[in-house]
């Protein structure tokens, strides 16, 4: 490109980022001096202009680190080994390891196409039919919180967007309040709270010794947190561990949260995907609601309806009165408007059409059972293979105890590197594998890889 033009600014902005080019020879300018400075000029009206490159205001912008989860898929794509296996991102695959568009979704899309509906803006809070359907799905249509209109529901950009709206709301109305997140948790949770300006700390969750729940640690840390903290809980199918509290443990968690006047904040990304039953997977949320507690719940339809890229979800806030629900909803809208004005329509219509049609709804439930069933089968086969091949007597039953798309294998960073480098199994460094990316045919190969990594690598 042409000659670099020295910045004509004579004063450098007092920014912490060095913009070295603008410091070059602080030029004081009158119009005469300007036109003499440069060789190449182009007449524009009565004024001589220079066609040249300005120095950038964003010189100090450094390269962001690659996303730890999405980066795994990229590495998988780049690998040429025929044995390669992608157990990275949590997107459901069929037994043939292909992406899957649910049949009910195709049907719903065709219906929408036939009807030829317009694409007008949704209201800020989203599609009314969707909001109603999603709240009913979560709490049950005859739940008192629904009947008494005590839930403020706003359509959000899948789970992420719904969590972000809630985090922004917390920052605005509970300044200084802390969020408590499990250790470990989905990597993006901390980014969301960071960017929303909500301080956070971790509560113990995963116990590497048992490859199970550190229940005592969890309760202790929730108890120790400042009163009025927001406790982020995974409604079902904990990501990344796959370890869920038992119903009894949920009761105790609710006890301590009430005792400390904390506010429960559920992330429900896998309703229906964990056990295969929509109602069963909502039990934890319903338990808390039944106690008369106020709570927040973020939902996503990425996995259970395979609508990943449509970005469809919702934030629900359960309040003690319908009046409060109206006010809270209005403020959630006020946060959404300067973020994206109103949410995308396509995914919302798909969900509303499916949930609103008894036939389609039944079909959906059947497809979900099928997806959850495939994952359970794969877990069983993996467990069986490991037991058959591993003569060390190690207890692999955690694979069966864990639930949902993911399994925390207990492998450490070096061991997972071995998985990738030697066995071409792509997974995240925390030892998480996505069972949705595994099929029965590959279970034996995977067992070999895990056994080798576990026993022969430290």
């Amino acid at each position: 490109m042409a000659s670099t033009m020295l910045s004509l600014a004579s004063v450098s902005p007092s920014s912490s980022i060095s913009i070295h080019d603008t410091h070059k020879g602080k030029i004081k300018l009158g119009s005469l001096e300007r036109s003499n400075l440069f060789l190449k000029t182009e007449p524009v009206g009565r004024v001589s202009m220079v066609a040249a490159v300005n120095t950038s205001r964003f010189d100090g912008v450094t390269m962001a680190p690659p996303d730890p989860i999405l980066g795994v898929s990229e590495a998988f794509k780049a690998s040429t080994n025929e044995k390669k296996l992608n157990l990275g991102v949590g997107a459901y695959r069929t037994e043939e390891l292909q992406p899957y568009v649910l049949t009910v979704v195709k049907k719903a899309e065709n219906l929408m196409l036939q009807r030829g509906e317009n694409k007008e803006y949704l209201p800020i809070e989203g599609l009314a039919a969707f909001n109603q359907a999603t709240a009913e799905l979560l709490f049950g249509a005859d739940n008192p919180v629904i009947k008494e209109q005590r839930v403020a529901t706003v359509q959000g950009l899948s789970g992420t967007g719904s969590l972000r709206l809630a985090a922004a709301f917390i920052e605005r109305y509970f300044p200084g309040a802390k969020a408590l997140i499990s250790s470990p948790t989905w990597g993006n949770h901390k980014n969301i709270f960071n960017d929303a300006g909500v301080p956070w700390s971790e509560y113990r969750y995963y116990d590497p010794k048992t490859v199970g729940l550190d229940f005592e640690g969890m309760i202790a840390d929730i108890k120790a947190a400042p009163e009025g903290s927001f406790v982020l809980l995974h409604g079902c199918a904990h990501n990344p561990t796959g370890i869920d509290p038992t119903p009894d443990q949920w009761e105790k968690i609710a006890d301590v949260i009430q005792e400390k006047n904390h506010i429960p904040f559920f992330d429900v990304a896998y309703q229906g995907f964990a056990s295969g039953s929509l109602d069963a997977d909502a039990a934890s949320v319903r338990l808390f609601a039944a106690r008369g507690m106020e709570l927040l719940v973020a939902q996503s339809y990425s996995k259970n309806l395979g609508l990943y890229a449509e970005r469809i979800g919702a934030i629900n806030v359960v309040l003690t009165s319908s009046d409060t629900a109206v006010r809270v909803k209005s403020q959630l809208k006020r946060l959404a408007r300067p973020m994206y004005s109103n949410p995308p329509i396509h995914g919302a219509k798909i969900v509303a059409n499916i949930v609103g049609d008894p036939t389609l709804f039944s079909e959906w439930k059947a497809e979900m059972e099928m997806m959850a069933g495939r994952i359970k089968n794969v877990r069983q086969k993996l467990f069986d293979s490991l037991c058959a091949k591993d003569k060390s007597g190690k207890d692999w039953s955690f694979i069966l105890k864990q639930i949902g798309m993911f399994s925390f294998t207990g492998l450490n960073k070096t061991q997972t590197e071995n998985m990738t480098n030697k066995w071409h199994v792509f997974m995240t460094k925390d030892g998480r594998i996505s069972l949705a990316g595994l099929n029965l045919a590959k279970c034996e190969y995977l067992s070999d890889a895990i056994i080798d990594s576990y026993h022969n690598v430290s």
């Binding site: 600014a9 920014s15 999405l70 980014n191 970005r311 006010r327």
Partner: protein, 422 residues
């Protein structure tokens, strides 16, 4: 199930926490109604058969009905149920972004060839502006944003929620209902060097007042002289004159003059994809390396907001723009929409003049794009709504897209009624 008995046991201990049933959210006041979207809500609630909605800027055909473009319907037929819905990359659809940049920067733009543009798919124009505002806050924390008076109300909300302090610059001249060019230039000159300026690339919202080509050249010169950063909000490319190339003129002037600009683009109006939320944020960088770094940071901001953007809208956009026949159809349809609006401007002005209005209504045809800044006061607007069931925003902004051959007479009459004694 075991749970239900446990619930029964729990109910006694809930009584202990009964005092806790006071809400956490007492302090939450009801939010004020959105001034723009609230208008449509009020319109929908009005039972009057004569009601007219000239509030929100969504295009209507001559029957007052929302329009789905033919090119869009065709694109939808092609994509329905075919592709899976796997996550897009954080930066969105690469294909759509490429096509979108061509529209703004030019089909054969050297900046595209040299890969100097950092660009990501965004949640329409709002999302693009917000991403930019957050980026500005993160990487230029000491900077302000200069916003024209008046502007789209949500601009204020966006930069405020991004915590970037706002300043204003003169734009609209109430006396002439045109551009306050001298005031604008003064403000550019008086702003501290290296300030950030928000400019509407074409079809200024809400006034419809655009600088002329000569004026844009002058604005570019002055902005360059002060080393300011120019950020363009282009929500109406194609919609202003009917010709997308022409509507990008201001941007092309700045590019030629060597500015490193930022652009927010939206397909809400020009492709009628409102509810799909399709747009693009781009920043012209010094070189490819910088563009890669900037893009990575934009993605870093998007990830905790929504992870990755929706797929459906961009599928439609890239299907249309990637097929020469569909693209030509789109261009014809956009021109058709722009022409209808220009026709309605003429009709409204003529009607008012025929009624013998004492005021000049020249500005209706001088202004361009979807909106007309009528010059009516909030009180006059209230009368229009309360007495005539005509819905518009209280700043007197009329969405010309809501004017039809069927209602232009009624609208002119009503406007005449409330302004004749002004």
């Amino acid at each position: 199930m075991a749970l239900s008995t446990k619930l029964f046991q729990r109910s006694s201990s809930t009584a202990v926490f009964g005092a806790r049933s006071m809400s956490w959210w007492r302090s939450v006041q009801p939010a004020p109604k959105d001034p723009i979207l609230g208008v449509t809500e009020a319109f929908l609630a009005d039972p009057s058969p004569n009601k007219v909605n000239v509030g929100v800027g969504a295009y209507r055909d001559d029957n007052g009905k929302p329009v789905v473009l033919e090119c869009v319907r065709e694109a939808e037929r092609r994509v329905a149920g075919k592709l899976n819905m796997e996550y897009l990359p954080m930066g969105g659809s690469v294909k759509m972004v490429e096509e979108t940049l061509k529209l703004a920067y030019g089909e054969t733009s050297e900046f595209l060839k040299d890969k100097r543009i950092a660009a990501v798919q965004s949640l329409s124009g709002t999302g693009a502006c917000r991403l930019f505002a957050d980026f500005q806050k993160r990487f230029r924390p000491d900077s302000n944003i200069y916003i024209p008076v008046p502007t789209w109300a949500n601009h204020h909300n966006i930069w405020r929620d991004a915590q970037v302090p706002q300043r204003t610059f003169h734009y609209y001249h109430p006396e002439t209902k045109g551009l306050d060019f001298a005031g604008l230039i003064d403000d550019i000159k008086n702003a501290p060097s290296g300030s950030f300026f928000l400019l509407h690339a074409c079809a200024h919202n809400p006034t419809g007042v655009d600088p002329s080509e000569e004026q844009w050249k002058e604005i570019s010169y002055e902005i360059k002289g002060k080393g300011h950063f120019a950020f363009f909000d282009m929500a109406y490319q194609g919609f202003a004159s009917g010709d997308p190339e022409r509507d990008a003129k201001a941007i092309r002037i700045f590019l030629k003059d060597g500015h490193l600009i930022g652009i927010s683009q939206s397909y809400a109006k020009n492709m009628g994809l409102y509810g799909q939320r399709v747009g693009c944020l781009s920043l012209l960088c010094e070189d490819e390396k910088q563009a890669v770094a900037v893009k990575s940071q934009l993605q870093q901001l998007a990830r905790p907001m929504y992870s990755n953007p929706p797929v459906h809208g961009p599928l439609i956009v890239s299907t249309i723009l990637g097929d020469p026949d569909l693209k030509n159809l789109w261009l014809r349809e956009v021109k058709g929409m722009a022409d209808r609006i220009i026709g309605m401007r003429t009709a409204l002005r003529e009607n008012l003049e025929k009624l013998g209005s004492p005021i000049s209504w020249e500005h209706i045809t001088n202004q361009i794009g979807m909106f007309c800044y009528s010059g009516m006061t909030p009180e006059q607007v209230d009368r229009l709504t309360n007495e005539f069931h005509i819905y518009l925003t209280r700043n007197g902004r009329i969405s010309m897209a809501g004017v039809t051959t069927g209602n232009v007479g009624y609208l002119a009459n009503a406007i005449h009624e409330v302004t004749k004694s002004a």
